[in-house]
Amino acid sequence: MKGEKKKKIVKTIKVDADKCNGCRACEVVCSAFHAAPKYSSNNPARSRIRVIHEPLKDVYLPVYAGEYAPAECAGRDKYTIDGKEYDECDFCRASCPSRDLFKEPDSGLPLKCDMCEDDPPQKEPLCVQWCLNDALTYEEREEEVEEEEVEREKLEIGLESLANEYGLDKIIDTVARMSQKG
């Protein structure tokens, strides 16, 4: 079946590292927004954005928490950009066992940026609102995406997971056996 083109809003935050002055207001307000009740406490260690900063190397890099990674990757390379050396990890959004970034300090559970989902919705994520120097800007982008093929039924999804576990042949044999008994 041929997929149809469909319009979709993609929420993005653009990071202009050259404009970052390292004030860490993004970390402060992120942690405050995600406190319960909202703004009742703050603690950058709980923030879903962190500014990687090494002032004497002029490295200032805001990074957002992304997917949880159960294991370390092999990335241990160094990148030199405009004469400044970055660790590969500096650009990585993962909450990962190799570092203490993007983990709840008490439980160690992973943190992930949710673009400040709120009801009523915020006009922009809080980190963007509090970044008066525009190192962080919010952008909604309309993208045309291939419409997914027909929504699959529950049965198919269930069967697929069984097939993944037991192999398709075994499923077919089982179904055949069951129908003979019928």
């Binding site: 009740p37 009742s40 406490s41 603690n43 260690a45 002032p55 200032y60």
Partner: protein, 672 residues
């Protein structure tokens, strides 16, 4: 639960090696808020006036402000207090940056250091884990280099650092405590840290700070951020660019230095160079600054960019961070240029010395040499090149080598040690402490009171919200008062009238404005500074610039919504007055009196001794102090400071008959 503050102090005794976490009394927060206020209270209670600054019984207090580390924009100041080896009075210095917020995230409002360690150590505060660690391998290391080495050693790149350099270790009377982004430089507090054998304090914290009424509070924060943006787009018209915006003076962003270079004095606070700023200089300095400044940087949770990463290599590091005005202090003291300023400032920062005092001490030495008071015998090998002379002197001062040992005590003490007329070259100290070098024509009666009575011994810590000269046109005056919302309740008419009339025929210094208005104006500015020093909000967003985002009308709401205490404008003003009076009481008990309260003799060419005496009389009266500047029993009682009265009576500082002259104590004694 305590809100905004943590409710705990760390008490460290370096003689015994003990570490205690002590709960604080919430009543003290109600009386003094925090920061400087509670520091003054602790010093009053625990350090008797007989204690010498270099005694194990002297305390060195690192404090957060009451609002420090919360989302309150710009609440990040570290307030360091102790007794100064130079002035023998309470030393009071602060720094921006990230140190105080990190301390609060670690769960403490203050670190109180007493005793002396037999060996050089550093303190490592990591949430509940606090260690005193060996620092013998860091001896002699630069302040920034030390910070980097400790971070590596602890494998904790996020640790915030406050460290001393060689100057602090060698107890130079104007040694600073360096934090990289900022420094607490005034009064020789770095020397006290060195005397205690403490090389650095490293802090890392990952705990929450709680807010009492979050919804109300976050609205206030958003309003302040909006006003900051508004002020960025609406600079004050009719004043030099350096005074038109908010924040610290934007020295790292602005390269037009006409105002500083032509208004302030060069050399040993000697020369005005009114024609200095030429087209050629402007272009040359612009190039130098563009080459030097790599990135403008901020302090914790503040959108202003008052500092910079500077690419001039210093002793142990390839770059350093500069705050606002130190780019010009060395430049102007050495009668040199901006390139020299950037070169020497990095070295000075690694050594850990005050950027105001140090250049002036060196300019003083150069002048004594030129006058033949210091000779080649005193300065063997003194270079002939002017810039090299400053590097030469700096190297000797921080090591207390030869003449450096004398100069390391600052201009006041050095002049008296050297003798042979050197005292006449001590032309820019107040209360034995070097001031910003300003030499002007006509007495400014408002500034006369501020220079005389400001106990933080630094004009920038008392001035701020008033234009420094009348606006040139009626139109500009009207424009300025139109949206001047920062004025305290009840004073609006008076203060606006002053700005509107100031500069009209017959309305000029020294007879204008009236003394009672002058008292009101000075008191307002002073009050705002004392509030900031207790809350930890940066003066750059509050008490220091014209039309700041924080003022007497929104600060009570910040404090109330964050802490849950309900205080209004009148109550907040009273707390500021209490703190201000207590700080004065601490110094009065150490011997400070009216005779110490005077600007340098040549500060203005035109002086008016009778008027000046009257100004001081009236301001003292206005503040509730007697004619020696000592708070009266009555005013102490009104401020719930009866324990101060009792102490003063016991010591004979106050008598029941307040006409009797009072006894003088330790700051009186001249040292050997």
């Amino acid at each position: 639960m305590r809100y905004a503050e943590t409710g705990f102090n760390l008490e460290i005794d370096l003689s015994r090696g003990s570490i205690e976490r002590v709960a604080t009394d919430p009543r003290l927060t109600e009386l003094h808020l925090g920061g400087l206020g509670t520091n003054a209270k602790i010093l009053w209670d625990r350090v008797p006036p007989e204690v010498e600054p270099f005694s194990p019984d002297n305390l060195l207090i690192f404090s957060t402000g009451l609002l420090g580390g919360t989302p309150t924009p710009g609440a990040n100041r570290t307030i360091v207090s102790t007794f100064s080896p130079q002035t023998l009075l309470m030393a009071y210095s602060m720094m921006g940056g990230f140190w105080a917020p990190e301390l609060k995230y670690a769960g403490y409002d203050k670190v109180i250091i007493r005793g002396k360690s037999p060996d050089l150590v550093y303190l490592w505060i990591n949430n509940d884990k606090v260690e005193i660690r060996d620092a013998s391998h860091l001896q002699g290391k630069g302040a920034l280099e030390t910070a980097e080495l400790i971070r590596e050693e602890l494998k904790e790149p996020k640790a915030q650092m406050a460290a001393i350099g060689l100057a602090g270790e060698n107890r130079v009377y104007y040694a600073s405590i360096e934090h990289g982004r900022s420094s607490a430089s005034r009064g020789g507090i770095g020397a006290v840290m060195g005397d205690k054998g403490l090389k650095a304090i490293a802090v890392r914290g990952t705990k929450d700070i709680n807010i009492a009424r979050p919804d109300e509070f976050i609205e206030l924060c958003n309003e302040v951020l909006q006003y900051i943006q508004y002020r960025a787009e609406n600079p004050i018209k009719g004043v030099p660019p350096i005074l038109a915006g908010i924040g610290s003076p934007q020295e790292m962003a602005i390269d037009d230095e006409q105002w500083h270079t032509t208004s302030f004095a060069w050399g040993n606070a000697r020369h005005r160079r009114k024609d200095f700023w030429t087209k050629e200089i402007e272009e040359q300095w612009k190039k130098t600054q563009e080459k030097a400044v790599e990135r403008l940087i901020s302090c914790h949770n503040c959108p202003m960019k008052c500092g910079a990463i500077v690419t001039y290599p210093a002793l142990g590091v390839s770059k350093y961070m500069m705050k606002c005005y130190s780019k010009l202090t060395y430049t102007m003291a050495a009668m040199s240029d901006l390139d020299f300023g950037f070169r020497i400032a990095g070295h000075a920062q690694e050594y850990g010395v005050d950027g105001y005092t140090t250049p002036q001490v060196m300019a003083f030495a150069v002048e004594l040499y030129e006058a033949g008071i210091l000779t080649d015998e005193d300065l063997p090998g003194f270079p002939s090149d002017n810039e090299e002379r400053f590097f030469w002197l700096l190297d000797r001062i921080v090591r207390r080598e030869g003449i450096g040992d004398v100069l390391a005590n600052g201009v006041y003490w050095a002049a008296r040690h050297i003798g042979k007329g050197a005292e006449a070259y001590d032309r820019n100290t107040i209360k034995k402490h070097e001031q910003i070098p300003i030499k002007l024509g006509m007495l400014n009666p408002i500034y006369y009171i501020m220079w005389s009575t400001g106990e933080k011994a630094n004009i920038t810590q008392i001035e701020g919200q008033l234009p420094q000269a009348p606006f040139p046109t009626r139109e500009l005056r009207e424009e300025f008062v139109k949206d001047w919302i920062q004025i305290p309740t009840g004073k609006e008419e008076k203060f606006k009238r002053f700005i509107l009339d100031w500069g009209e025929p017959g309305k000029s210094f020294p007879d204008y404005p009236s003394i009672d208005l002058i008292c009101d104006l000075v008191d307002w500015q002073e009050t705002m500074h004392y509030i900031d020093d207790a809350t930890g909000v940066c003066a750059g967003l509050s008490s220091f610039p014209l039309k700041p985002p924080y003022h007497i009308h929104n600060l009570p709401n910040f404090i109330s919504s964050e802490t849950g205490m309900d205080i209004d404008e009148a109550e907040l003003s009273e707390i500021a007055k209490r703190n201000r009076t207590l700080l004065r009481a601490v110094n009065i008990r150490r011997g400070m009196r009216r005779k110490d309260e005077k600007p340098p003799e040549d500060h203005w060419k035109k002086r008016f001794p009778e008027l000046e005496a009257k100004l001081l009389d009236e301001y003292y009266k206005f503040k509730g102090w007697n004619n020696q500047g000592i708070p009266t029993q009555e005013s102490l009682h009104e401020l719930a400071l009866d324990y101060v009265s009792e102490d003063f009576l016991q010591r004979g500082i106050l008598t029941d008959d307040e006409g009797t002259p009072s006894k003088e104590t330790s700051a009186e004694k001249e040292k050997k």
